[in-house]
């Protein structure tokens, strides 16, 4: 009885409608938070005593770096749910995550290298966290490559789910092995368990950006999920009703 909501999640028309209704609830707060975060971060927050205005790219860089890992985790959990409980919608979620995660990873790399030029004097340094992001990008590309190698969607789903699960086991190991390898990246100044080493005018916009990016991801994921469901169900009869309506 209490589980009916869960079973309905397995129905593509229901998911299609639900995702459509929910998108706006994520998109609007995301837009507002990101607009506030960008304005407060780029214009209001004080300049850094050492890095000047150059540090402001962190308002984009740090949230997208967080998203690049968060999306991989989401993708792996969705893939595991799809593989274990044979839930097609979960596979569709995982498939929708990959491109978004890869985009966030590319954004992290791009903003990081733009920041690196004035700070380190070069666009690219083989710094552990940059290298980790690059490897993460390769993991996303491998996942997408494996998925596109199969014509049959269901087989692509299940094979790529195994890869995503293997990947999520290996990602922490890759992360720490790359960290021990070498480091000249600045130490984390926000994700520490003590008080953040920045003033509230800086970290409140950053937190707004973190939350905004998370909601943005949710909104984009729901939109992609609708497209994915349409594509997978293109021969089903309910599609005709939805499209003609």
């Amino acid at each position: 009885m209490a589980w009916t909501w869960f079973h309905r999640l397995g129905s593509p028309p229901y998911i299609y409608g639900l995702a459509g209704r929910l998108t706006a609830w994520f998109a609007w707060p995301a837009g507002l938070l990101i607009a506030y975060g960008l304005y407060a971060g780029l214009f209001v927050a004080p300049a850094d005593y050492q890095q000047g205005d150059g540090y402001r790219i962190i308002f984009l860089h740090a949230p997208s770096a967080y998203m690049s890992v968060m999306v991989y985790t989401t993708m792996s959990i969705a893939a595991a749910v799809g593989l274990i409980w044979r839930m097609k919608i979960a596979h569709a979620v995982a498939a929708s995550c990959a491109v978004l995660g890869a985009t966030f990873t590319v954004m992290t790399l791009a903003t990081g290298s733009l920041w690196g030029k004035p700070m380190w004097g070069t666009y690219w340094v083989w710094d552990p966290r940059i290298t980790f992001e690059l490897l993460l990008l390769f993991l996303y590309l491998g996942y997408m490559g494996l998925r596109s190698a199969f014509d049959d969607v269901q087989r692509a789903d299940r094979v790529s789910a195994v890869l995503a699960i293997v990947g999520i086991v290996d990602v922490p190991i890759i992360h720490y092995s790359v960290i021990w390898w070498n480091s000249l990246h600045q130490a984390p100044s926000l994700m520490k368990f003590s008080k953040p080493s920045m003033p509230p005018e800086m970290y409140i916009p950053i937190l707004a950006m973190f939350l905004g990016f998370t909601l943005l991801f949710a909104a984009l994921l729901l939109t992609r999920l609708r497209a994915e469901v349409l594509n997978r169900e293109r021969t089903a009869s309910w599609i005709r009703e939805v499209v003609s309506a």
Binding site: L83, L135, F138, L139, L141, G142, G145, L146, A149, F150, R155, R158, V159, V162, L163, I165, V166, G167, V169, D170, I173, I174, S177, V178, W180, W181
Partner: protein, 265 residues
């Protein structure tokens, strides 16, 4: 994942076969669904031993296939002095990286033969239906693959390092690192090979899947080799390499077995 498939006779027997058999108008049954008919005969270890013996026998009949990755490794090592500089001090500095990149690439090359032939002639399907644990059988196949590619690499790697100017005292450390590291490489490779079984041209896909996952092996292996060449204690990276290999032995065959079952459906 299900450990026990049905014995082959239950699914391929006469139409009048008893319960558990597949009747003609029943929907198609995957190896996983025909499960729990009869417990397997013989322990998983016996079956694994038989797989090792069979694979070794087959490998000795086509020796050329297994020598190719070693020749490839030698060529890659020879490319580094040609591409960088014949100067001994420079070569000694790049020796750990050169040896490990060579090892990584040649283990990749050898992955092609891990499951492919057995998938083509139906052997893997029979393994899945045999009633034995597919996980154990694939671990046995991977172990044999390591005996044929990883272990020879451990002999070649010190030679390559010596040619790049590593001192003779570094040989035990390099051998230890390559022996342990190649176990991890074979296991990661077994997952990727199982995942790409259903792909017609997996040539470019296999490196894309394997190499990012193998980065820890490269880092710890090259670090241990570097310390061994510098005559320092290399036990710390070796332990980490060992830990990674143990994790691989524990989890990789499970993942490979799931992937093989999906590919067989």
């Amino acid at each position: 994942m299900n450990e026990y498939g049905a014995p082959a006779s239950a699914s391929y027997g006469a139409p009048a076969a008893p319960a558990g058999a597949v009747s003609m108008n029943a929907p198609p049954v995957s190896p996983m669904d025909v499960a729990q008919v009869t417990p397997p005969q013989g322990s998983p270890l016996t079956a694994a031993g038989l797989v090792v013996a069979r694979d070794l026998k087959l490998a000795f009949r086509k020796r050329g296939q297994w020598i190719q990755p070693l020749i490839f490794f030698a060529i890659v090592t020879a490319l580094f002095p040609l591409g960088i500089s014949p100067e001994p001090s420079k070569l000694r500095a790049i020796a750990p990286g050169a040896v490990w990149i060579g090892a990584l690439l040649s283990s990749l090359l050898a992955l092609e033969f891990l499951f492919r032939d057995d998938a083509h002639d139906g052997t893997l399907e029979q393994y899945a239906l045999s009633g034995q644990s597919l996980t154990w059988l694939l671990l046995a196949k991977t172990a044999t693959h390591w005996l044929l590619t990883g272990l020879p690499l451990a002999v070649m790697a010190p030679l390559a390092a010596l040619s790049l100017g590593a001192p003779i005292g570094s040989v035990p450390g390099i051998v230890a690192a390559v022996v342990i590291g190649s176990v991890a490489l074979s296991l990661i490779g077994s997952i990727a090979a199982a995942l790409t079984l259903g792909v017609r041209r997996s040539g470019a896909l296999l490196p894309l899947l394997t190499l990012p996952l193998s980065v820890p092996v490269l880092i710890f292996g090259a670090r241990a080799t570097e310390l061994a060449i510098g005559a320092e204690s290399y036990s710390a990276p070796l332990y980490l390499l060992g830990a990674f290999a143990v994790l691989g032995v524990t989890l990789a065959p499970l993942a490979s077995a799931v992937a093989v079952r999906i590919s067989l459906e």
